[in-house]
């Protein structure tokens, strides 16, 4: 690959990453919407926001789904962050339900 080809390829790959990011953000938000609904239901039922067992299950599930090249620990770290945010979203929607 000559220099000009390499530069074109770099641009193509970066564009591809941008497209993937767009999908990831959409999916994260779709996931967050479910978390909002779960939060509301937990608010109604008076269930705790933090359920360690369920969080473990989620992590186990994504680790099973993982086909690489990310290793399990990397997937786990990424999903820990996603779960942190879901918990926050759930709590907020549960609170709104309580005060409503």
């Amino acid at each position: 690959m000559n220099r000009i080809d390499a530069e074109a390829e770099l641009k193509r790959l970066r564009d591809a990453i941008d497209r993937v990011d767009e999908v990831i953000v959409k999916l994260l938000n779709q996931r967050a919407k479910y978390a909002v609904e779960i939060g509301e239901i937990k608010g109604i039922l008076g269930l705790p926001i933090y359920v360690p067992e369920r969080e473990k299950e989620v992590l186990r599930h994504v680790e099973e789904e993982n086909a690489g090249p990310l290793d399990e620990a990397a997937v786990r770290r990424l999903f820990e962050r996603i779960i942190d945010e879901s918990r926050r979203v759930e709590r907020e929607s549960a609170r709104v339900k309580e005060t409503a």
Binding site: Y50, R76, E80
Partner: protein, 337 residues
């Protein structure tokens, strides 16, 4: 706040800490490492004591990342506070020198000293009416009569006046006469007094306790500010160390440290720090060079006959010479005097 879990601690220990934090309304950012888990705690963590979490099984360490003080911190207010007392502004571009006798002893003594320091350029007159003395047999101060003299001398020589308040019952009377109330080093953690002066609407000069950390000092300021009195001048006066050549060791680094952490003005008291006249002038020069917003200096027209702290009081001539030196140093650090 960050909670560091012990290496290879049981998952149930981590869950218990997380559960407690979440129940209390905090958000938790969990980060599982290869052998150690770290929990980032987000929310109004000023209300919790990290030590409480160190008691949980499996917790190695709980550390506060943000300051426990709020109102006095730079985070809360970026621009420096300028405290106005009568005709004087402390914390602005001008370096303000406060001078006068340790204790008000007589009309002659106070007026003579005031006249001399005013002529040399002091903007605030200091003088104790109630004295916290180490010995109960030492001269305890003139009380209200002293305050009246202080006010009269301040008016005569166009200076604001500052005097130390020792207890809550003195506050009301002192407000009639003084422009700045001083809370002394020994009272820095007298929380009832701090709360009371928080209700006052006159500036407070808050001295650092002789064994207080900077954080404890700022928390003392926080007590006053939480009562609604935001006009606080911090005063470094030396801390206890193992050194005996000077009475206290002046913590010059406290000046830039406070400037970074807090928006409150900071002045230095080289007289109490050293307890020795010959050390006062070099230290005073260092304080303004380090960025101090002012100085609090003891001057007595006749120090040999002083009833209190004579050995650390400057002669009026020495004070005049010091002011001349400061007029050279202060412009070099971009300020005026």
């Amino acid at each position: 706040m960050v909670i560091v879990m012990e290496k290879h601690t049981a998952e149930s220990n981590i869950e218990r800490v997380m559960s407690e934090l979440i129940t209390r309304g905090f958000d938790v950012h969990r980060s599982t490492g290869s052998d150690q888990t770290i929990l980032g705690v987000v929310g109004d963590v000023a209300s919790i004591d990290p030590r409480e979490f160190e008691l949980f099984d499996g917790v190695q360490e709980a550390v506060r990342v943000s300051e426990p003080y709020k109102l006095s911190s730079r985070t809360w207010r970026r621009e420096k506070t300028i405290v106005k007392a009568r005709c004087v502004e402390i914390g602005g571009n001008e370096v303000v020198v406060m001078a006068g006798p340790c204790t008000i002893e007589s009309e002659t003594q106070l007026f003579e000293t005031a006249r001399r320091v005013a002529r040399s350029g002091a903007r605030v007159l200091r003088g104790g009416a109630y004295k916290p003395r180490t010995s109960p047999y030492a001269f305890q101060g003139m009380g209200v009569e002293g305050l009246k003299l202080l006010r009269a001398a301040g008016d005569e020589f166009n200076m604001a006046v500052v005097s130390e308040v020792m207890e809550i019952s003195q506050i009301e009377k002192m407000l009639e006469y003084v422009d700045i109330l001083q809370v002394g080093a020994r009272n820095m953690q007298n929380f009832n007094l701090l709360t009371a002066v928080g209700q006052v609407r006159k500036p407070i000069l808050l001295k650092r306790g002789m064994s207080a950390t900077i954080q404890e000092w700022l928390l003392a300021a926080e007590y006053i500010m939480s009562g609604g009195n935001y006009d606080i001048i911090l005063c470094e006066r030396g801390i206890r160390t193992f050194e005996t050549a000077t009475r206290n060791t002046f913590d010059i680094s406290a000046i830039p440290v406070i400037d970074k952490l807090s928006h409150l003005p900071i002045v230095g008291d080289p007289s109490h720090a050293t307890g020795r006249r010959d050390k006062v002038m070099p230290l005073a020069r260092a304080i303004v060079a380090a960025g101090g917003d002012g100085l609090l200096i003891e001057v007595h027209h006749d120090p040999e006959k002083a009833l209190c702290d004579g050995p650390q009081s400057l002669y009026p001539d020495q004070f005049a010479r010091l002011m001349d030196e400061l007029r050279i140093i202060v412009p070099a650090v971009g300020r005026r005097i």
